[in-house]
């Protein structure tokens, strides 16, 4: 019998149907992957199973018991544990502290008022054992905010395991991870097989096809296919809807990279940039240049200083030494809003749309800053670029799918009429088709003359799109060159980009 049975589950948010009559079965001990394009309803389904949302209709049966109306914390006690898409721990607490709470949450009543938790030795030992299991055994006393992103995700899984679940929901456990962090996570998930059912929401197809025993594909809130990986892979509908067919646009995308625009005046010049977080130095003299009309990428593994470089340029993390010249003005040490006014717009990592403003408000709230350029951006112009947002104009930013939020974040940056668009991991956690859509929009913007500086991990794709690349390693520029030079030198990949 199935561990989890979902029958005819629907969820509406106002007028938007997020899920429509979905069925899903997770068996004891299997790893079941849930895949689908952004906005397909995967996270909604995970929320419904965990009890964070109530379905509009349908039933959820867990171990033969109807839990449709059971609140989240009781489902946790019944054996449904989850991790969150965005890391969601107790940030001020330590690794051990987070795990101790998780053990406490599962074992015994919280209505014990007298005995200090610190004296409960068994609880602490059990928590330490879970830290060991997820590979954090030597980081017990490290505060969560001092952990790397990958370690935080490992801790997320540890916290979920501490609930001794029968069913573990993992929502994009490898998002934002480097390849070796991701490999570690895959090994961890594989070690859970047979011990508990795992429902895995994941975008990385390599991960999915490596670990999943069965796969369910969601598209537009409906189940498109469900079965063994090979069946799903062979299913033509799935190909069309999710993995993407080579259409005319994709062919265009695979054309050799365009010639760099003829020598054009520099828009942004950076020399000897050094940035610190408190006492620890992150950038050790970064030099780079973006000319007008150019697309430049910053490449490198996680933690090499890419995001810090972007934040230093836009003024959010002021550099301690070095020079930044933008549009002929020395902007080193300027406040972020002044730099933004001069025409440098950041699309931050994680999108950071305002969840409690509507799409329209998210866009129009920023339209006033910046000098009107030759061709000012208007709401309509953004909506023409991202037609998907038009239908969502009056929805809250927080209701959008990941892909839509990304479009909104780019649109919001464009509304400031930038001369240089700076993007940090703009395609993080997006399905292949949505990713492609974003890249095509960026290509279009660049053809219209906008200069772009971006950080992204899909180097392969970037080589077909950008003019110039800069590779960072431990806060230093170790290589600069054209796309051709990048592709023709496999040693670069080995040394700086892959595991």
């Amino acid at each position: 019998m199935s561990l989890l049975q979902v029958r005819g589950l629907s969820k509406r948010f106002g007028g938007v149907v997020a899920l429509w009559r979905c069925d899903l079965d997770v068996r004891e001990g299997e790893v079941h992957a849930l895949i689908g394009p952004n906005g397909a309803g995967k996270t909604t389904l995970a929320h419904l199973v965990a009890g964070a949302l109530r379905p509009t209709e349908g039933r959820i049966v867990f171990r033969g018991r109807d839990v449709t109306g059971t609140p989240a914390h009781q489902r946790a006690l019944l054996g449904i544990a989850r991790t969150f898409q965005v890391t969601n721990l107790f940030p001020k607490d330590t690794v051990l502290g987070n795990l101790v709470l998780a053990v406490l949450g599962r074992s015994g009543s919280p209505f014990r008022f007298w005995r200090p938790v610190e004296a409960e030795r068994a609880v602490h030992e059990e928590a330490a054992a879970y830290a060991q299991r997820v590979g954090l055994g030597d980081r017990l006393d490290t505060a969560v905010h001092a952990l790397s992103h990958g370690e935080q995700r490992q801790l997320e899984v540890g916290v979920a395991l501490a609930g001794r679940p029968r069913l573990l929901l993992l929502d994009e456990p490898t998002s934002g991870m480097s390849r070796d962090e991701s490999a570690r996570m895959v090994a961890l998930i594989e070690s859970l097989r047979g011990e508990m059912g795992v429902l895995l929401v994941e975008h990385d197809m390599d991960v999915v096809f490596r670990v999943a025993d069965r796969i369910t594909v969601l598209v537009d809130g409906r189940v498109l296919a469900s079965g063994e990986p090979e069946e799903v892979r062979a299913n033509p509908d799935v190909h069309r809807a999710y993995l993407g067919e080579p259409g005319p646009d994709r062919v265009e995308a695979r054309e050799p990279p365009r010639e760099a625009p003829q020598p054009s005046p520099p828009l942004l010049e950076v020399e000897g940039l050094e940035t610190f977080y408190g006492p620890s130095q992150v950038l050790f003299g970064v030099d780079l240049q973006v000319c007008q009309g150019q697309v430049v990428t910053l490449l490198g593994r996680n933690g090499m200083g890419k995001t810090t470089t972007l934040l230093s340029l836009v003024g959010l993390v002021p550099p301690r030494r070095g020079r930044v010249v933008f549009r002929g003005e020395g902007v080193t040490g300027w406040e972020p809003e002044r730099i933004a006014k001069l025409g440098m717009a950041l699309v931050p990592e994680g999108r950071q749309v305002f969840p409690n403003l509507t799409v329209r408000e998210n866009l129009t709230a920023f339209s006033t800053s910046g000098e009107p350029s030759r061709d000012p951006w208007t709401l309509d112009r953004v909506l023409d670029l991202f037609p998907r947002l038009r239908a969502r104009l009056d929805h809250w930013g927080g209701q959008l799918s990941g892909g839509e939020q990304q479009m909104l974040a780019i649109g919001r940056a464009l509304m400031t009429n930038p001369h240089l668009l700076v993007l940090d991991e703009a395609t993080e956690g997006l399905a292949p088709l949505v990713r492609e859509e974003i890249w095509r929009c960026l290509e279009r913007l660049n053809r219209e003359g906008l200069a772009i500086l971006l950080v992204d991990k899909y180097v392969d794709r970037l080589a077909h799109f950008a003019h110039h690349h800069v590779i960072l390693e431990r806060g230093r520029v170790v290589w600069k060159g054209s796309s051709e030079a990048l592709r023709s030198d496999p040693s670069l990949w080995r040394r700086y980009l892959s595991v």
Binding site: A50, A52, P71, A72, H73, Q74, A76, L77, A81, R82, F84, N88, L89, F90, P91, K92, D93, L96, V100, L101, A102, L104, G105, R106, G108, S109, P110, F111, R112, F113, W114, R115, P116, V117, E118, A119, E120, R121, H124, E125, A128, L140, D141, V159, A162, G163
Partner: protein, 326 residues
């Protein structure tokens, strides 16, 4: 391994409401002796007024510590704690007016009434968050305030005399001082155990990350409601003591400025720091007395001090002291 031993070490320390170390123990002993000897010194040197000030500070320390449980450890900004403070005090006065003055009846009745009031207010207000929570707790407090002043037979706007209850022994000012210290000490031990217990962990987990707390299996609403009731009861007990101290109750004890006053103490002392309520109450009472005797515009100066704390010491006096001691 090392880390685990450290935690267990910390556990032994956490089992007692006082810090380890001989120096600290001596400090505590000296402080305790000073507090115990104080009424005799007051008697000897004619500092009767100061005995009253210290008693008042201790009562308010109890009230603020009760509030700190929900405000600091629960992250729940209750803007209506004057309700429990005032109801505790009014119970003494009203029962006395009705001829009930036995302490064994009055004190439990007052505390139970406050706990029940907190249960009712909490049951509704804890279903909301943020600004709405503040507004609902304030709204309930104002309802109680106007409810009480509508009882003309209990003094209405003018308040009511509150003779001291009968404890079976004469309750002098010094006796009340000792009783207040005893109850404050007992409540602090209780609060210390509570905030370090499983319950306390659950409460703080819900404050730090409610979604996560529910996901690991903590029943957030019942835990918060329970904390709210405990907090209301402790603040109510402080109200009972205040009625004994002033021997008079006024509707001002129920009004929103009183709620704000209690919140000020917690913020001044340190929100969510164990000694925040005590330090804040003592400091505010001292500040008020000092400025009060110096100028009629004393409230202005108290306000400036609060402004300085909010701007420069966001963890309150506890934060400053902890920084000094380490």
């Amino acid at each position: 391994m090392r880390a685990r031993n450290l935690s267990v070490e910390a556990g032994r320390r956490a089992a007692l409401p006082w810090p380890a170390g001989v120096g600290r123990a001596l400090l505590w002993a000296a402080g305790g002796a000073l507090l115990l000897a104080f009424p005799y010194a007051a008697e000897a040197f004619g500092w009767h007024f100061y005995l009253s000030v210290v008693t008042k500070a201790a009562v308010l320390a109890l009230a603020a510590s009760g509030l700190n449980l929900v405000l600091g450890y629960g992250g729940l900004v209750s803007f209506g704690h004057a309700t429990y403070y005032g109801l505790g005090a009014y119970t003494v006065a009203v029962l006395a007016r009705e001829g009930v003055q036995q302490a064994w009846a009055v004190w439990p009745a007052a505390v139970l009434l406050c706990a029940f009031a907190a249960l009712c207010v909490g049951a509704v207000s804890l279903r909301t968050r943020g600004l709405y929570f503040i507004m609902i707790t304030l709204a309930f407090a104002q309802m109680v305030y106007y409810g009480v002043i509508s009882f003309k037979q209990y003094g209405g706007q003018d308040g009511l005399r509150a003779p001291r209850t009968d404890l079976g022994l004469p309750l002098t000012d010094a006796g009340l001082y000792y009783l207040t210290l005893l109850l404050l000490g007992a409540s602090l031990v209780l609060l210390w155990r509570v905030v370090h217990s499983r319950f306390g962990r659950a409460l703080q987990a819900a404050r730090d990350n409610e979604l996560r707390a529910a996901a690991v299996g903590f029943p957030v609403y019942p835990v918060q409601l329970c904390a709210f009731v405990l907090s209301g009861a402790i603040t109510g007990l402080a109200g009972v003591l205040m009625a004994h101290h002033t021997q008079y109750v006024s509707p001002n004890m129920l009004g929103w400025p009183q709620s704000g006053h209690l919140m000020f103490m917690v913020i001044l002392g340190g929100v969510g720091r164990f000694w925040g309520g005590v330090l804040g109450a003592v400091a505010l009472v001292l500040l008020e007395e000092v400025f009060h005797s110096a100028t009629v515009h004393w409230q202005l100066f108290v306000g400036l001090v609060l402004l300085a704390v909010a701007l420069f010491a966001s963890r309150g006096l506890s934060g400053l002291l902890e920084g000094r001691l380490r």
